[in-house]
């Protein structure tokens, strides 16, 4: 019988109309190109780590420098071979602390106001204004700090107390720069808290303030903490405001009315002239850069961790 001899496979004529998976070279080529584009950002990171690491290594191998004195020295005077990062780090921390003293309370208050109190109309006008504030180039803030805030500080506290260049004015303006960042991330976190929590609290007789502060804020705490840490990281890396307004020249001082150069400010000043390669100055900006990169990266990672680990998940 012919029927019995028939190959069972032939009942499914896959070959005839080609339903099997065919390799399409064009598709594969495009996919590899797109993969390359995606992978490219890895090169950026590798480039940053490699260049910072290599030049910083060269810096620490110089006979004039040693790692311990770099981390603990209180003098940064390249011309007498003193390379202690503490004055630069200290100035960075002072400006950051001032900035956060402005940005955290104001940013949180704005976030609570926008998410809990403001009417839809007020919110729709206020949010774009805050976005404008966030979109202004930092050099413009630097100009503002030097020509507006510093004169005000000097007229309040006296010209002999407040230097023309001082960390207070740079820090205050930096706080304004970071305010929208903290406000908008915190507001997102507050908005993500489900309505039912608020309704329940109102049902128990809580006032609007009690709902906002005792119920919604704690529920959104992880997002707010992440926003604050991100703000700190932003403040540490901020450059132009401090380069313009905080003063040139490393100065180990806790007095916010004195000029002091931050890590970022120092890098900008040193590289402003034509920097010759392989000079000690050239290598030193990479060492400072590495410090800056490690600081900001770890803060960013902590912020991401907090969001992931402490997020309250609601049904």
């Amino acid at each position: 019988m012919t029927i019995q001899k028939m190959d069972p496979q032939s009942a499914y004529p896959t070959k005839a109309i080609g339903l099997h998976k065919r390799r399409r070279w064009g598709e594969s080529a495009i996919q590899s190109l797109l993969f390359f584009a995606g992978f490219f950002s890895i090169f950026t990171t590798v480039g940053i780590v490699y260049e910072l690491g290599k030049e910083a290594w060269l810096f620490f191998r110089l006979p004039e420098v040693n790692l311990w004195k770099f981390l603990t020295g209180t003098q940064w005077q390249p011309h007498i071979n003193e390379f202690g990062i503490l004055p630069l780090l200290n100035a960075t921390l002072v400006t950051t602390a001032i900035a956060m003293a402005v940005a955290i309370p104001l940013g949180l208050a704005v976030a609570v106001y926008l998410s809990e109190y403001a009417s839809l109309k007020a919110r729709n006008t206020l949010k774009p204004i805050l976005e404008v504030l966030a979109g202004i180039p930092t050099i413009v803030y630097g100009y503002f700090a030097l020509t507006f805030v510093t004169p005000i500080l000097r007229s309040i506290f006296g010209r002999d107390v407040v230097d023309i260049y001082n960390t207070a004015s740079a820090g205050l303006v930096m706080g304004v720069l970071i305010l929208p960042l903290i406000a908008s991330i915190s507001e997102d976190a507050l908005n993500a808290v489900p309505r039912s929590l608020r309704e329940a609290a109102y049902g128990l007789g809580a006032t609007k303030l009690e709902v906002a502060v005792k119920v919604v804020l704690p529920a959104a705490l992880s997002g707010i903490a992440a926003a604050i840490i991100l703000g700190i990281s932003r403040a540490i890396g901020e450059t132009m405001i401090v380069a313009v307004a905080a003063g040139a020249g490393p100065n180990f001082t806790f007095n916010p009315f004195k000029g002091a150069e931050t890590m970022t400010g120092h890098i900008v000043r040193i590289s402003g002239g034509d920097l010759s390669y392989d000079s000690i100055d050239y290598n030193s900006i990479f060492a400072i850069g590495l410090m800056l990169f490690v600081l900001t990266l770890s803060l960013n990672i902590i912020s991401q961790r907090i969001v992931r680990r402490f997020r309250e998940v609601y049904e």
Binding site: I30, T45, I136
Partner: protein, 417 residues
């Protein structure tokens, strides 16, 4: 029923206090928001305040003394002005001007401005901001009178530091003659290079991550890496650009590779290096924005494409991308407007302090608007602060128009599913 009465008493007893603190804090929250807005207003007012105001000029030579036969300088003909230049300037300087463009071909206004720049040589003695100029006019006039004791030829003029001339003139070392033309062109060149590099790479990466990438360690690494790069301070990108583009790739970025090297730019501190550095800087932002736009395209569109037998790339090219494009463009414009305002990385990459010629190719030395603002702000004399304010206005208008176009784009093409 014995309902306890005490708690109820306590409840209503402190109710007034609770409501009061509620009202107080409401006010506090409101005031905080208003403070934010006030600062923005103060910032803008401060810039406008510095852009206009009185200036006391001193002329090197009294323009009146240059009048010929009772015809004042402004009314003289082009040839008369050219003759004046020939008479007053050194032979070499005059010939140099004539070589740049023969006097017979220059317009009268052009020659007149040369006379003002080269012979009359106005110099700023003192300058005042707008608010002072309006409120302390009497004192300013008195001060100018005092100045006249030492400087015989002093003119008090109310000026706007931002003029069409200011935008059209190249940079100069004299406050009266300087302009932002070189800086604007430098900014545009840099941004062009940035877009050409970052847009295709960024959109490609976003397509890969959203459409192709499976959930494995490599793709998770790429995604985490992009998120982390977005938080790296811009100055770090500047250091990377200095080491990578300016130094390691100087053969490419100075144009030597193409035989285009200008001896003055052989260092690699060129527009190309600046553009590439900014491209690396905005790349993560563009990727993240484009990813969001692509994610917003509904799955049903892709399924319909596959159902009709389209390949994955055909579906993406013909259906996903056109629908995501407005979002992608909006995100890109916002990223680019961030790049335009960037200063720190470009200082590190090596923006030039003084160039007066227009950039001619990607291998030219460069300055940009924010760099110009930084350098002018850093000078102690008041007139440079006024110029910085005028340049800031130019920059803000540029950014504002970019942002407005992003919003228009979003409203025009945004689709709702």
């Amino acid at each position: 029923m014995n309902r306890p009465a005490a708690p109820e008493f306590e409840f209503s007893g402190n109710l007034a206090a609770r409501n009061r603190s509620g009202r107080i804090w409401h006010l506090v929250f409101q005031i905080s928001t208003i403070i934010g807005i006030l600062v923005l207003a103060a910032l803008l007012v401060n810039i406008l305040d510095s852009t206009f105001g009185y200036v006391a000029y001193e002329a090197g030579i009294d323009p009146e003394s240059l009048a010929v036969d009772g015809i004042s300088l402004e009314d003289q003909s082009r040839d008369q002005l050219a003759a004046l230049l020939q008479e007053r300037l050194s032979f070499g300087a005059y010939n140099k001007l004539n070589d740049e463009k023969p006097f017979s071909e220059r317009s009268k206004a052009d020659v007149y401005s040369l006379v003002i720049q080269r012979i009359v040589k106005y110099d700023v003695l003192e300058s005042w901001a707008l608010w002072e100029s309006l409120t302390r006019r009497g004192e300013i006039l008195a001060e100018v009178e005092a100045l006249r004791a030492e400087h015989p030829v002093v003119d008090l003029v109310f000026v706007s530091w931002l003029t069409p001339d200011f935008m059209a003139r190249p940079q100069s070392s004299e406050a009266v003659n300087t302009g932002v033309r070189t800086a604007i062109l430098g900014s545009l060149w840099t941004i062009l290079i940035t877009i050409l590099v970052a847009f295709p790479l960024g959109v490609g990466a976003a397509i890969y991550l959203e459409e192709y990438a499976r959930d494995n360690w490599l793709n998770r690494l790429i995604q985490t890496n992009i998120n982390n790069l977005a938080g790296v301070p811009s100055i770090i990108y500047g250091i990377l650009g200095l080491a990578l583009f300016v130094r390691a790739m100087s053969k490419l970025t100075s144009g030597e590779l193409f035989g285009l090297a200008d001896p003055t730019t052989a260092t690699g501190r060129t527009l190309l290096s600046a553009g590439l550095t900014l491209a690396l800087l905005v790349l993560p932002v563009i990727i993240i924005n484009a990813q969001e736009a692509i994610r917003a395209v509904p799955q049903s569109l892709r399924k319909a494409g596959y159902g009709l037998g389209a390949t994955q790339w055909q579906t993406i090219r013909d259906h996903v991308l056109p629908n995501a494009l407005p979002g992608i463009l909006t995100g890109t414009i916002l990223a680019v407007s961030r790049a335009i305002g960037e200063t720190a990385p470009l200082v590190v990459v090596g923006a030039s302090t003084a160039i007066s010629f227009d950039p001619a190719s990607p291998f030219s030395r460069f300055t940009t608007l924010p760099i110009q603002i930084y350098q002018w702000t850093a000078r102690p004399q008041a007139e440079w602060r006024h110029l910085a304010a005028a340049a800031i206005l130019v920059l803000l208008v540029l950014l504002l128009s970019l942002n407005a176009s992003a919003i228009l784009l979003r409203n025009r093409f945004a689709r709702k599913y």
